[in-house]
C-alpha cells in the first residue's frame, strides 16, 4: 500500500476518534464560536456607521457587509492552533514515540484540526446564518454555484497554507528552546495582514503592492474577496496562482526544515 493512502487512512480513523472525543465539549464549542463572531460583528457595525455618515470608502456597503459576515467563518475554517503544541511535543520528546510508528506525528495534528473544525461548523453556521439574515438586504450573493466552488477551493488552500506556516514555526523547536514568542508574533502579524481586523481593500494606497501579494492575504482575505468583491477573471486566476504558489513553496520549505529537524533531533529523556 502506498504511503499516501496509508497516511490518509490513518487521518480518517484519527479524525473520527477525535470527533467522538471532542464532542464531549460541544457546549464549549458553541461559546467559543460566539466569541469568534464578536469582533467581525463589531467591525461590521462600525464600518457601516462610517459609510452612512458619509465616509468615502473605496468599497461599498454591500462589500463591507458581505466581508464581515463571512469573515468569522473563513477565519475559523483556515485557522490553526497547533504550533505551540507541536513545539512542545518536539521539546519534551513526545515525538520519539511517533518516530517508531508507521505514521507521522503531524497526522495527529491534522486529525485534531479537521475534527475541531467539523464540530465548530455546527455551532458557527447557524450564528453566521442569523447575522446574514439580519443584513440580507445588503449582502453580495454571487449568482450560480461557480463563485461558491472557488470560495471553497480557496478556503482549503488557505487552511493548508496556515497549517504549513505553523509547521514551519513549530519545527524551529528542533533548534530553539522556546518558540512561544514566534507563535504569538505570527498570530499578531497575521491578524492584520490577513484582513481579519480590517479588510485589506481599506489599507492605504501606498501599501497595496505589498499587501496584495504577501502570503497572509491568501489565508483569509482572498477567499472572502471571491464572494464579497468583484474580482475579475484575470484577478481570480492571478490570485489562485499566487495562493497555490505559496502553498507549494512553503510546503517544500516546511518539508525540508522538518526533515533537517528530524535528523538534528535528540530526544529529551530518551
Amino acid at each position: 500500500m502506498s504511503t499516501v493512502a496509508r497516511n490518509l487512512r490513518v487521518v480518517r480513523r484519527m479524525t473520527a476518534a477525535e470527533i467522538a472525543q471532542q464532542s464531549v465539549y460541544r457546549g464549549a464549542w458553541i461559546i467559543f464560536m460566539l466569541a469568534n463572531i464578536c469582533m467581525p460583528i463589531i467591525s461590521l457595525l462600525i464600518w457601516r456607521t462610517a459609510l452612512s455618515n458619509g465616509a468615502q470608502l473605496p468599497v461599498d456597503e454591500r462589500y463591507i457587509t458581505t466581508y464581515f459576515v463571512l469573515l468569522g467563518f473563513v477565519t475559523m475554517a483556515t485557522s490553526s492552533w497547533m504550533a505551540a503544541f507541536l513545539a512542545n511535543d518536539i521539546r519534551l520528546g513526545k515525538l520519539s514515540s511517533w518516530m517508531v510508528r508507521p505514521a507521522s506525528l503531524l497526522v495527529g495534528f491534522v486529525a485534531n484540526n479537521l475534527s475541531e473544525k467539523f464540530l465548530k461548523l455546527f455551532a458557527l453556521v447557524p450564528m453566521i446564518g442569523i447575522v446574514w439574515w439580519i443584513f440580507r438586504d445588503s449582502m453580495n450573493i454571487p449568482a450560480g454555484p461557480g463563485r461558491w466552488a472557488l470560495f471553497a477551493v480557496s478556503i482549503v488552500l488557505g487552511a493548508v497554507l496556515v497549517f504549513t506556516i505553523d509547521i514551519l514555526i513549530a519545527a524551529l523547536a528542533f533548534w530553539m528552546d522556546d518558540v512561544g514568542a514566534l507563535v504569538q508574533a505570527r498570530v499578531i502579524i497575521s491578524s492584520v495582514l490577513s484582513g481579519a481586523v480590517v479588510p485589506l481593500a481599506l489599507m492605504p494606497t501606498w501599501s497595496r503592492g505589498f499587501v496584495d501579494h504577501q502570503p497572509f492575504r491568501f489565508t483569509v482575505s482572498f477567499p472572502v474577496e471571491i464572494v464579497a468583491g468583484q474580482l475579475t477573471g484575470r484577478e481570480l486566476l492571478a490570485g489562485f496562482g499566487i495562493q497555490l504558489g505559496y502553498v507549494v513553496v512553503l510546503g517544500v520549505i516546511a518539508r525540508l526544515v522538518w526533515s533537517a529537524g528530524i535528523r538534528a533531533y535528540s530526544a529529551v529523556g530518551a
Binding site: A35, C38, Q56, Q184, I188, V197, V198, P204
Partner: protein
C-alpha cells in the same frame, strides 16, 4: 467599618506580595510590556484607517476617538491587573475544590475569589493608556476643568465596577456549568466594543452596551465627561447602576454557593 478596613489591609498585602513576586519574573514584565504596546498599536489601526476616509463620525473627531482608546486601554489594563487573574482561576476553584480552603478563612469568600491575585506587569498598559489619552486630549484641544476630570474618573470607576460585576457573574456560572474558560473568551471579545464611541453602534446595540454589557460607562461616558458634555446626573446614574450590579452579583454568588458541594471530599 472594622470589617471593611480588614479587607482593605488584606488587599494591600496581596498587592505588596504581587510586587515582590513580579521582581522575580523580570522577563515576564518585559514581554507583557512589549505585547501590550503591540496590541495597543494594532487596536488603534482600524480607528486610524477609518479617519483616513472621513474627518468626523457622529460628532467624534479622530483625536477624541484616540482619547477614548486611551481610556479603553486604562480600564482594560486595570481589569487585566486586578480582576482577570482571578476570573481565569474560577474553573479550578470550583472544580478542583480549592474553594473549600477559601470558605474556611475569616474573610469574605467572594472578595477573596475576585481580588486575590494581581498581575502587576499589566499596569504597564495603564501607563501606555494614560499616554494615549493625553495625546488624544492635546490633539483635540479639549481642556477639561477639575470638575470634569472628577466626573470622568468617577464614571470610569463605575465602568470598572460594572465590567467586574458582569465578568464575575459570567464566571460564577461555573457553579452550574463547571467549566467557564470559554466564557472568559466571550467576555474579552465583547469588551472590544469599548474601543469605539457608543454612537458608532445602532440604537439597539447602544442600549445593550450601556445596560447589559456596560462598556459605555468604562469608555464613552468618561470621554464625554472630559469634553464637558455630561452633567452630574450621568455620574449619579453610573454610581446607581454600579450599586445595583454589585447587589445582583452578590445575590448570584449566594445562590451559587448554596449549590456548591465541594469537589474532592
Amino acid at each position: 467599618m472594622h470589617k471593611q478596613w480588614r479587607h482593605l489591609r488584606l488587599w494591600r498585602r496581596f498587592f505588596a506580595q504581587a510586587v515582590v513576586r513580579e521582581t522575580h519574573y523580570r522577563a515576564h514584565f518585559l514581554t507583557t510590556l512589549l505585547v501590550g504596546l503591540v496590541q495597543l498599536g494594532l487596536g488603534i489601526v482600524p480607528t486610524l484607517l477609518l479617519f483616513g476616509f472621513t474627518s468626523e463620525v457622529h460628532g467624534w473627531s479622530r483625536a477624541e476617538v484616540i482619547a477614548l482608546v486611551g481610556v479603553y486601554q486604562i480600564v482594560t489594563g486595570l481589569m487585566a491587573t486586578f480582576v482577570a487573574p482571578n476570573m481565569n482561576r474560577m474553573t479550578s476553584y470550583l472544580t478542583e475544590g480549592e474553594l473549600d480552603v477559601v470558605l474556611l478563612r475569616p474573610v469574605s469568600s467572594q472578595f477573596y475569589l475576585t481580588l486575590r491575585w494581581i498581575n502587576i506587569a499589566e499596569l504597564t498598559n495603564v501607563a501606555s493608556g494614560i499616554v494615549v489619552l493625553v495625546i488624544g486630549l492635546v490633539q483635540s484641544d479639549l481642556r477639561p476643568g477639575f470638575g470634569q476630570v472628577v466626573q470622568a474618573v468617577v464614571l470610569a470607576g463605575c465602568g470598572l465596577v460594572l465590567l467586574t460585576a458582569v465578568w464575575s457573574a459570567m464566571s460564577f456560572l461555573a457553579f452550574w456549568l463547571q467549566s467557564v474558560g470559554p466564557i472568559g473568551v466571550v467576555y474579552l471579545s465583547a469588551v472590544e466594543a469599548g474601543r469605539y464611541p457608543l454612537v458608532f453602534f445602532p440604537v439597539a446595540v447602544r442600549a445593550f452596551l450601556t445596560f447589559a454589557f456596560p462598556v459605555a460607562f468604562a469608555t464613552t461616558y468618561p470621554v464625554r465627561a472630559l469634553a464637558g458634555d455630561l452633567g452630574w446626573g450621568w455620574v449619579a446614574l453610573g454610581a446607581g447602576l454600579a450599586v445595583v450590579a454589585m447587589t445582583l452579583v452578590r445575590l448570584l454568588w449566594r445562590r451559587g454557593l448554596l449549590t456548591y458541594a465541594s469537589a474532592s471530599s
